[in-house]
């Protein structure tokens, strides 16, 4: 049992650390150990990989730190690529959270909701909602 747990932990940690951020001509890419590459966004500075988490039976979120933005109120912004588990198609790149580094606002979480055939992302920071139709 212990061995199995250790093996699972090893697999998890090796997959977590198998992503790297590559910069190419001002653009940033998340690249996995199979050299599969995804274009990502920098909000300020060099982005970094955080984790891959399951969002639904069909979808994963590849969460990354997109950077630190702002001129007087700094926010550390985390974003996620919403990808299909089956063929790693990207359904979009959306914010996950805004952590205030200077004000009293703390952390603002973006709401991701899964409905029947769509994902609804409500961003309190921009006060906008995106609807992604699942194909």
């Amino acid at each position: 049992m212990k061995l199995r747990l250790a093996l699972l932990l090893f697999i998890f940690s090796s997959s977590a650390f198998s992503w790297e951020v590559v910069k190419k001509k001002d653009e940033f890419y998340l690249v996995d150990s199979n050299k599969k590459s995804f274009a990502i966004i920098s909000e300020g500075g060099v982005p970094s990989f955080i984790k891959v988490e399951s969002f639904s039976p069909e979808l994963n979120r590849i969460i990354y730190k997109s950077g630190v933005a702002g001129t007087s109120e700094l926010k550390e912004i985390h974003r996620a690529l919403l990808v299909t588990k089956k063929d790693m198609k990207v359904l979009g790149d959306f914010p996950v959270s805004y952590q205030s580094l200077t004000g009293n606002e703390g952390k603002v979480e973006v709401k991701w909701r899964l409905q029947k055939d769509r994902v609804i992302i409500s961003d309190p920071e921009t006060e906008t909602t995106e609807k992604i139709q699942l194909r």
């Binding site: 653009e27 274009a39 909000e43 500075g45 630190v68 702002g70 001129t71 979009g92 805004y98 006060e127």
Partner: protein, 471 residues
């Protein structure tokens, strides 16, 4: 009876085919987006479209030997609004995206195995915008796109487009020919060494970049021959490293004949004499946006869309400069150069966005990119305060003066690479002393102590359209 059936079937096939014009693409594997229909050289790469992304087809280039390339505009996600070229091979196995018709059905395309090499791209580059490749071995694959080309307007030889203004391809030779005939001017300031030279047209809004070849020398005026010889002698290994995107001037609807009172001053050269009309223009804009009422910070989601729907693109830029410079640096002026510096950042960000294929990006788009300029954040009141101020207010007057100054300031290449600043009271993790740029504009240095802004060059950052512009 049988022949009637066959004819009907053929007719249906013909009609279906005629309707199955490619309208959009959906990316299957990560695809390079290039500033020109040339894909073998990284110099031209704008970035990449992720698998699953969608984009509408704007133009088609038939100048490739085997495949074709599309100029596309990304229609969703973080790249929304970005324009660039993607390559479609005649070889099915090498295709990285599917082509869809107007009903989002996949368009069936012929499959012709072919090797695609960088040599072909180099050849395309040489003949870009000329007839040399257009009529070259036409195969069934290229023939399949004839209905599409016929539905578009010829932009340059071999390139057809729904929006010809967005096509700015020229061969190296035609650029040098236009230069020799005086249609283009050499942009000496942007020369960074090597054999790539930059040219501007008369308006100065379009830039072209061309590699020099010795055979072009004879057609050039003598004084220019000397410049080119000297430049090339200085650089023994003329390998181009950077070849920026041509500055595409997108069609700006409503830009002409649709000015708010006083704002037509923005269409001409801005000088000290423009101030009264700029003042009137600003008043007209405020009246249009607020209807005479006081704006509140919480009005953000109602008012930001009005910036786009009520103002033409040039008025949007003016507003972006005035409001941002007041909100970010109003308390630091005088000197007004503190405000000019904020305007410079906005201009730099706009230019960067354009160089990345966001062809109709403007200063307001740069200002409202979420979380970048703190004054526009949720709950922040600086933007509404700036608009609520009377024009006679000191900060507003300083902003108008700063705008005039900006329009009469020449920026050095280093200053053009400055996209970031922050107040000296905060500490982002990308803060690096080696990237700090001391700012001096028109001989005036910005504050070096007390409350001030610290400016940086070459900090990583991606432009994207804000949610209020609908771009």
């Amino acid at each position: 009876m049988v022949s009637k059936l066959v004819i009907s079937a053929l007719f249906i096939l013909f009609v279906c085919n005629a309707w199955a014009l490619p309208q959009s693409i959906v990316i299957d594997e990560q695809t390079v987006l290039a500033s020109q229909p040339v894909f073998g050289r990284e110099d031209y790469h704008l970035g990449a479209l992720n698998p699953g992304s969608k984009a509408e087809i704007i133009s088609i280039s038939t100048q490739h030997e085997h495949g074709v390339s599309f100029q596309v505009r990304s229609t969703e996600g973080a790249n929304r609004g970005q324009v660039g070229w993607v390559y479609l091979s005649s070889d099915e196995a090498k295709r990285k995206f599917s082509v869809l018709d107007e009903k989002n059905n996949e368009v069936s395309l012929p499959h012709i195995p072919s090797p695609v090499t960088n040599d072909e791209d180099d050849s395309v580059l040489e003949h870009l915008g000329t007839l040399k490749r257009v009529n070259n071995p036409t195969n069934n694959f290229k023939r399949a796109f004839i209905p599409l080309t016929k539905s578009m307007t010829p932009a340059v030889d071999g390139v057809y487009s729904k929006i010809p203004e967005l096509v700015s391809v020229k061969s190296d030779k035609s650029i040098w020919d236009d230069f020799a005939s005086g249609k283009l001017k050499l942009d000496e300031e942007s020369y960074k060494g090597g054999n790539i030279f930059t040219f501007t047209d008369e308006s100065g809004s379009n830039k072209y970049h061309a590699a020099f070849k010795p055979e072009y020398l004879g057609s050039l005026p003598e004084n220019i021959q000397e410049i080119v010889k000297v430049e090339l002698d200085c650089d023994e290994t003329p390998t181009p490293s950077v070849r920026p995107t041509p500055q595409v001037q997108a069609a700006l609807p409503g830009q002409r004949n649709n000015w708010l009172p006083g704002c037509d001053v923005l269409s001409g050269r801005i000088s000290e004499n423009s101030k009264n009309k700029l003042d009137q223009c600003l008043n007209s804009i405020k009246q249009t946006l607020s209807g005479g009422k006081r704006l509140r910070a919480s009005d953000r989601t109602k008012v930001f869309p009005l910036f786009y729907s009520k103002l033409n693109p040039t008025e949007q830029e003016f507003l972006g400069h005035i409001v941002t410079s007041i909100g970010e640096a109003g308390v630091l002026a005088p000197p007004i150069e503190e405000m000019v510096a904020i305007m410079m950042i906005l201009e730099n960000r706009k230019d960067y966005a354009k160089s990345k294929g966001f062809s109709n990006a403007n200063v307001l788009d740069a200002a409202l990119q979420p979380s970048q300029f703190s004054m526009y954040n949720r709950g922040a009141h600086h933007w509404s305060d700036a608009l609520n101020r009377e024009n006679s207010d000191n900060q507003t007057q300083h902003a108008l003066d700063a705008f005039i100054k900006l329009k009469n300031t020449t920026l050095t290449p280093t200053l053009r690479r400055v996209y970031h600043y922050h107040t000296n009271s905060v500490h982002p993790d990308w803060k690096t002393p080696s990237k700090v740029v001391p700012i001096t504009l028109n001989g005036v240095s910005l504050r070096k102590s007390g409350k001030r802004h610290i400016f940086y060059r070459d900090i990583g950052w991606s432009f994207r359209n804000n949610p209020w512009s609908n771009k």
